[in-house]
């Protein structure tokens, strides 16, 4: 019975795939969408970085899904690491401290920290003009926090500001999308004026959305790193 069911499901999938793929002409030039983006992308969105134009204008809903996936992954890791374990043995394990890093490493990491944060902010603020964007800038910001964790033993990250930043950024993304729905008729419509090309305040809502994504990704990845460092050890 079970073999029959699995075989029929498999046959259904194979037939469906064959039927739907038989309409695709293989070997012909089917890149009409990409050519449209290359020809009209800058005029449509005002973003000179065409990758950003696709990610945050033509395919912005997919980006919202991507951010949600990262959020769920971070949430799952947080739940998993804060799972209550058995108590015995954890007290003396927790007291075993690593030796303090040298003065040069400590001061060097503290000196580099604001510069890396600034660089991450630059990447996501200029996401519509130069290569990079919210995901790249956010991960650069998270690597700054990672450097602080590695260089300073006593460094602890307060989780409340991270959570607040993440929530506000997520709310900003959805609210901007809903305003677009109200003004222009579809979700995540680019309702602000495009501005002049190559200036920071151009491309409509794209800088706002990418700043929100940058802050959200930065907060999530920093939270993941902090959770990993603060979790109790197994042995």
């Amino acid at each position: 019975m079970r073999a029959f069911v699995s075989f029929s499901v498999l046959a259904l999938i194979v037939v469906g795939l064959a039927l739907s793929l038989s309409h695709v002409p293989f070997g012909k030039d089917r890149m009409q969408v990409a050519n449209y983006y290359l020809d009209h992308g800058v005029a449509d969105t005002g973003a000179t970085n065409l990758v950003t134009a696709v990610v945050l204008n033509y395919r912005a809903l997919d980006t919202l899904g991507e951010v949600t996936v990262l959020f769920i992954a971070s949430l799952g890791l947080g739940v998993f690491l804060s799972w209550p374990k058995k108590k015995e043995g954890t007290q003396e394990e927790g007291k075993r401290e690593l030796p303090e890093a040298s003065l040069i490493v400590r001061r060097g990491s503290q000196f580099l920290f604001p510069l890396i944060i600034l660089f991450g902010g630059y990447i996501f603020l200029h996401g519509h003009l130069t290569p990079g964007g919210g995901f790249q800038g956010g991960s650069v910001i998270a690597s700054a926090f990672l450097l602080m964790f590695l260089g300073n033993n006593a460094y602890r990250l307060r989780h409340t500001p991270l959570t607040v930043t993440e929530s506000l950024a997520g709310i900003t993304f959805v609210v901007v999308g809903l305003i677009g729905l109200g003004v222009g008729g579809y979700f995540l419509n680019n309702f602000l004026p495009k501005g002049s090309m190559f200036s920071l305040f151009s491309a409509g809502v794209i800088p706002i959305l990418y700043s929100a994504i940058g802050l959200k990704v930065g907060a999530e990845l920093s939270g993941i790193v902090a959770n990993m460092f603060e979790s109790r050890s197994e042995r």
């Binding site: 991960s139 990672l146 050890s233």
Partner: protein, 78 residues
Amino acid sequence: MIYIAILTVAMLIAGLAAYFFRDLIAAVVACAAVSLIASVLFYLLQAPDVAMAEAAIGAGLTTAIFVIAIRKTGRYEK
């Protein structure tokens, strides 16, 4: 073109090394090397956006998270 071929071969070697190392820290470092070479390859193939993401996440954050996880569990493959 020759650079791309050399980098691809180096990436392949690093990937195989990550598979064969018994020391998990060494394997993670080999994985980081794969990510780093992939990032350079993305840049050479004119995809700087992807190259930035790969360098920051693949070579940086993932390696650190793996190393922390290995430090909290066990270093050698059983």
